[in-house]
Symmetry: C2
Subunit: 293 residues, 2 copies
């Protein structure tokens, strides 16, 4: 069993990005610049945005954080988005979700220039993703693909069973792994809450991506020997073993499942760090105009 | 075994559309207007565009056909697209594909206003489709969904195996049937040329959508009793039984498979007529501003 070390891989990728930034600067190029937009003061959102700023610092990106009061009118936020679209110095930006109820997330996301949409949430990017065109892939699926690449996990002709059909994980990773490319070329099955016989399906899988947010859902009896398991779940569960009184649990019963796997991601330290680093990779692509010229 | 009669269903839908157009006109509304753009003189494209014009006439839509010489420069075509985007009288338009090699289909498609993209090929529409937002669904998957609806075929919790991963059929119908809605909520498996064990998968299917363009591929031994089979294949094969010297064949060995089915589409007369009528339904939605306001 090989442990897919997302933390280590993300660390390596950060060093690679930092190296590339140095080269860009050395050859007279502009420092890649990510802006983050934060509306209100949701604690989790604060944390995520702070991580993003810190990640930028680590790789040598410029970063800007734009904070707005929770009461900002929708139109004012849309105007800010337009300004960021036009700002030549900013290569990519993200609007941290969720937004307050009086603001349409859809409107805001669709107002972002797809060429600066490093979160990959604009329909132009999700649409390009579905049909296999160059696009900004959203962070978690992009991180999973990167792990598969870096661990040289064979995907062609493999049966990948995805549990969960969220817009930010299940649907895009299904589309990516079915594409005619490498990694890709998987036979892909998408399961979800309405699926009647999940175990029957997971027992056929060469690769399982668990992304439905049910702690410990995937158990040893549901997988066959040699399977590759990617755990995307991160659910807060109560715990008396931590100071905070809770801990994050994945969708996979790691202790039971791991011995049967050829590869498995731990939780934490698997997909999570890769999600964070994917935003940096997208920002670098935006700065280099790799997707949209 | 119930035969899913696409021809009859499409006929009914046309009458419904015609009825609605009459009402729109009677209440002082504008007649829905579809424009088709044809570049060059490809024989198949000519036929398709002529069908579209004829279909419009039948339901009382206005239609315009814009023809351009094969040598039209890309920029000139893009300018035409911009004109159509701005033309208040035109509710929706399609640019018949394929385009000559010197014109980028991607550029042309992305230049179309998504609100007028009744073919549903613009990434904003395919992206919205993937994430389950209102959109213009492309014609063939929309036609399949409409057939499933009108025949009250249960999809929730059913295992749908899709053979083929094209951008215009396999990928979008997979996304549509996995959505949390009705029809939808299927467990969806996408198979393709790299899938190793298609028969093993089709034997588990409650619903099979055959869309890979291999005449007669799906045979009786590959399906279980009670399955629903939708045949999307239309391949020209040589025939000495027709004047033209060829006939269209589906991906399903109808004679062998049909006796085992609860529902099956014939070929011709199944999905084909529904594909045509879907364009009319999309144009009506565009005229009524049902998707984009």
């Amino acid at each position: 069993m090989i442990l897919i070390d997302g933390k280590e891989t993300a660390g390596k990728i950060k060093l690679e990005i930092a190296e590339e930034v140095k080269k860009i600067i050395a050859t007279g190029g502009k420092r890649p610049h990510l802006a983050t937009v934060l509306v209100g003061s949701d604690a989790a959102s604060e944390t995520y945005v702070n991580y993003k700023v810190k990640d930028c610092e680590q790789v040598g990106f410029a970063s800007s954080m734009l904070r707005f009061d929770e009461s900002i009118p929708e139109q004012e936020l849309l105007d800010k988005v337009s300004e960021l679209n036009l700002d030549q110095d900013i290569d990519g930006f993200i609007v941290q979700l969720p937004l307050p109820a009086h603001i349409s997330e859809t409107k805001v996301i669709e107002a972002i220039d797809p060429a600066k949409d490093v979160d990959g949430f604009h329909p132009v990017n999700t649409g390009r993703l579905l049909i296999g065109m160059p696009c900004f892939e959203s962070a978690t699926p992009a991180g999973i693909i990167e792990l598969i690449k870096r661990y040289n996990i064979e995907t062609s002709g493999k049966h990948c069973v995805i549990i969960g059909r969220s817009n930010i994980v299940g649907k895009p990773i299904a589309a990516l792994l079915a594409q005619k490319r490498d990694p890709g070329n998987c036979t892909v099955t998408v399961c979800h809450s309405r699926t009647r016989n999940i175990k029957e399906l997971t027992l056929q899988a060469d690769i399982i991506i668990a992304a439905m947010g049910q702690p410990g859902f995937l158990t040893a009896d549901m997988v066959r020997e040699g399977v590759v398991v990617i755990d995307v779940g991160t659910t807060r569960v109560k715990s008396d073993q931590t100071k905070s009184g809770f801990k994050l649990k994945g969708d996979v019963d790691f202790e039971g499942v791991a011995p049967k796997c050829s590869y498995i991601t731990p939780m934490p330290g698997g997909v999570g760090p890769m999600t964070r680093v994917s935003l940096l990779l997208n920002t670098l692509k935006a700065a280099k105009k790799e997707i949209y010229s």
